[in-house]
Symmetry: C2
Subunit: 335 residues, 2 copies
Amino acid sequence: MPGERILLGHGSGGRLMHALIRDLVVKKLGNPVLKELADSATLEFKDKLAFTTDSFVVSPLFFPGGDIGKLAVCGTINDLAVSGAAPLYLSLAFIIEEGLEFSILEKVVDSIASEAKGAGVKIVTGDLKVVESQAADKLFINTSGIGRIVSRRRLSFANIREGDRVILTGNIGEHGLAVLAKRKGVDLGFKIKSDSACLHRMLLALIRGAYGIRFMRDPTRGGVAATLNETAESTGLGIVIDEASLPVSSRVRAACELLGLDPLNVANEGKAVLVIGREGAGKTLAALRRNPLGRNARDIGEFVKAPKGRVIMKTSVGTERLIDMPLGEPLPRIC
Amino acid sequence: MPGERILLGHGSGGRLMHALIRDLVVKKLGNPVLKELADSATLEFKDKLAFTTDSFVVSPLFFPGGDIGKLAVCGTINDLAVSGAAPLYLSLAFIIEEGLEFSILEKVVDSIASEAKGAGVKIVTGDLKVVESQAADKLFINTSGIGRIVSRRRLSFANIREGDRVILTGNIGEHGLAVLAKRKGVDLGFKIKSDSACLHRMLLALIRGAYGIRFMRDPTRGGVAATLNETAESTGLGIVIDEASLPVSSRVRAACELLGLDPLNVANEGKAVLVIGREGAGKTLAALRRNPLGRNARDIGEFVKAPKGRVIMKTSVGTERLIDMPLGEPLPRIC
């Protein structure tokens, strides 16, 4: 019903909540496991599992290229995929501000349903809380996920060796800038769309292809700079990247210059950083580029013995620059 | 450091967030799986699993008998236990309002660590978001959980038959009243403590005891009235309960009369409703009463052919009263 709003009673365990869950959530996300509305979903497994959780507090809820529902599905799927796991099951927990328009919640649930279906994952358990007006900002979503580990060797920092290559699966900075521009109402003169996407099919194909992937991570909050710094610190090796090889679109470059941002610090939601043995890098790049989600993949650098735990960028003018761990994202609530 | 507060940067993926996670969360909850800070936890299983999720938005964060951290651990553990699963692994996701005192977060993490340790579960993966001041109310927590199904027969509505008994594991209404009194500053002249507790050991012992448990559920939001109504509706049978047998402490009874509440509608966080074949009810009650968490357990009624899907209470004065599904909890944000 147009204009209908969420009431506190919708989160209170009674008739209103049951109607909302049945008529909206189960109707759109329904599968035999979820439909039972049991306290837990019962799942059959005989394998090694990955388990992850992520809360989404992005503001605004809708932005060019995505929305909080798409992020909540793809973000958790990507966390499983970079751990070498095929995503299977998601949980879905809403915290809703009283007064939220029902149609907004419906649009988000539609987006979740469509992304989950496209990605081949099932939402099997959930929760819904409503808090008073101004006790939350519209809508927060938590998705936790379970996947089946498909990589024979565990993907881990510990696999990384000197000489290993660093591959970025595509252009960086698009998600953070899309959200920032939409939130602040900045007119850049052109549109930047979030790269929000589920990467599991592309990444798991690389693992199955046995190119020698050592480690993967999705550079979300803190951007590529945070991911590279974490990786360097954990391995005790250094990373040298080549500025000229960084995949940055001309729009992102222009927007970052305008806004005083470094694209390396800006969040991505549809990219992965891969570490791979030197011999497999070429095949990996070729495989990535055959996939629309990886068509701008680039080999951006390598692991070196020193400086330990540091990330150095060789700039296009021939100098070297330290890429530090950002103190924080330039922008809160980008995911 | 006393007086230190959470900043937006603590949720931004950079150096501040990493320090907070390492120095607070991992230090207190640490185990080999969590310590890796991978995107997903890797877990070994060769069994049937249960998977559940719950967000906690209780206000205030601390109340007699518990706090949001204890609720977040025990609530999710109880959801697994009533599904017949031994809880093993939890995820932990914080949404924090900027400016929250660091010491409050620390107290909550201490409580989580202590409950998880006591319950024998491991927190293996997590997430931390910070939103601007007034975009959330202090602190919300999501815990998702994985357990191994130990019941040979699946616990389900579908097992319930006419003549089955309904057992309540203890006194009702304590959690909701404790939170309400604390939040509103109501002086009842006596203290009511939340019953918040992890029930898995007691409930799983009943399952292992093979007394013939058909179904279990924890009557949280909406109280026992909501749980009984859900169960009756799902089975297509009716439930007749006996008012005289309802386990309600004299304090809760007095407080409910004072506040105009029905203890059947008030939330519990350390109780379960059990459905069991008539022949096993006595043994189940005896087993429950040997456990401090079940010492006030009572057989409160039975499943009947009619009225279908309805819950009827035989009152102490000899009349019958329809116990309806509550429209909502009397109080939002009790869990």
